[in-house]
Symmetry: C2
Subunit: 262 residues, 2 copies
């Protein structure tokens, strides 16, 4: 089987021709911080760091990374307490942390993903992680979370007196343990802190953040670039409308798929 494949052919037609003609012409947005990038060159756009820790939920960091990596000149870096693979809650996948927290002093954007119970509780008690989050937050332009990542931000003391969102099943816990007002929105901005609701909400939050960093036109183009015209097969994604039995099943599936189970 032979096909006349070429870079130009796969993204076909006049649009691709325009791309190739225009490549290199996008002005860089934001400010550059080369710290902690080591051998990778600064690209002139925002330095975005995503904190991985044992037991995170895979889509929490990767959905926003897909969006934010398309920002002009952006560097997205996966960061963890130590360099190397960091496994998800289910144990099914590992994303590589390319930098340790000791190597990263400053970020334009910090994103803290959520995790299953095990991972969230461990991160909330990890004083080295919490200290690093507080330090990065001091000079960040945006400090953000997805899902139970807001519990980690709260444990670091960043959400005191603020409005925030979190995973639907953790909302009562967030309000009872911290001085935080839960808001049931896909994402909630409070000053330079943006928290997103559960797992998939990170994609919506990241597009909103993209619009704040680079403007609406760029954010709209990124939404088109990832063909984000969602058509979920069911209307079951909101806990506000969910039957209690469906909530129980959802939490049971999460508990059973967790690597620490059984």
């Amino acid at each position: 089987m032979t096909h006349s494949t070429s870079r130009r052919a796969v993204l076909c037609g006049s649009a691709a021709t325009a791309v190739l003609a225009a490549a290199g012409s996008i002005p860089a947005a934001g400010t550059a911080h080369a710290e902690g990038r080591g051998e990778r060159r600064a690209k002139g756009g925002p330095e975005i760091g995503i904190l991985l820790y044992d037991g995170y939920s895979l889509l929490d960091p990767t959905g926003p990374a897909e969006v934010l990596s398309r920002l002009p000149g952006a560097n997205v870096t996966m960061i963890a307490e130590r360099r190397g693979p960091v496994r998800t809650d289910t144990g099914d996948a590992a994303v590589v942390a390319d930098r340790s927290i000791a190597e990263v002093d400053r970020l334009d954007v910090l994103l803290v993903p959520g995790a299953g119970n095990r991972g969230t509780v461990a991160a909330m008690k990890n004083q080295a992680l919490l200290r690093w989050i507080r330090r990065i937050h001091r000079n960040s332009r945006w400090t953000t979370s997805v899902c139970t990542g807001s519990l980690v931000l709260a444990a670091a003391g960043l959400l005191d007196g603020r409005k925030a969102t979190t995973y639907w099943a953790s909302a009562d816990y967030l309000e009872s343990e911290f001085d935080v007002t839960y808001v049931a929105e896909r994402s909630v901005r409070s000053g330079k802190i943006i928290t997103a609701a559960g797992v998939s909400a990170g994609v919506d939050m990241a597009l909103y953040l993209a619009s704040l960093i680079a403007g609406d036109t760029t954010a709209k183009a990124i939404q088109l670039a990832i063909e984000y015209d969602p058509r979920p097969p069911f209307d079951s994604g909101s806990a506000a409308d969910a039957d209690p039995r469906l909530k129980e099943l959802a939490l049971r599936l999460l508990a059973e798929s967790d690597d620490s189970h059984g």
Copy 2:
């Protein structure tokens, strides 16, 4: 700062209590194939393999993995030509392949993600990958793709005479190079082959696939588990309605964020 965190507390209230009481009681769905899992125990549910190759787009494999890993008893395995980290199109992230294609003989579900031009073209020419895809497809229950992954399935000869979808910018190419009829839907089923549209469409496709494997109630619960009640900030994700200039900008952002650029 001390908090009375516990496994029970983070997912709070009666739902979590029910989870803990019920844990272990979900019947396994699907058939088990332990081949290629090595040290990991079979969990009684479907064996799902996601093929990584250099230059894939991060959300293509990770969105569906988040969904499918919640199926009762499912094993999701990241697979590549060789074990080890496999980098995305932007170079910003790497997911670890835990198995090589030589180690995996049979899967219930195969998922082939899409990639940037560089990665897609290379995969379409990689005869070892294409042979493996054809071999796995012979005994799979479902063979699936996201984004330009359908071009890889087509290059493997699996889409001849079929309807399929792909990334919006690759639709003309798919139809001109292969005996395939492009359908502009989030996912298209043809026999046991399901193709999804670009990047984010993998999440919609995976929920549909979850319903085929484990029924609507389980799929609805997974949708709630990932809080997938999408609220994109813009209405710009469909190429059918997009301004040509926005399409050009989208493709330019993709080209510029590609690791092989500049």
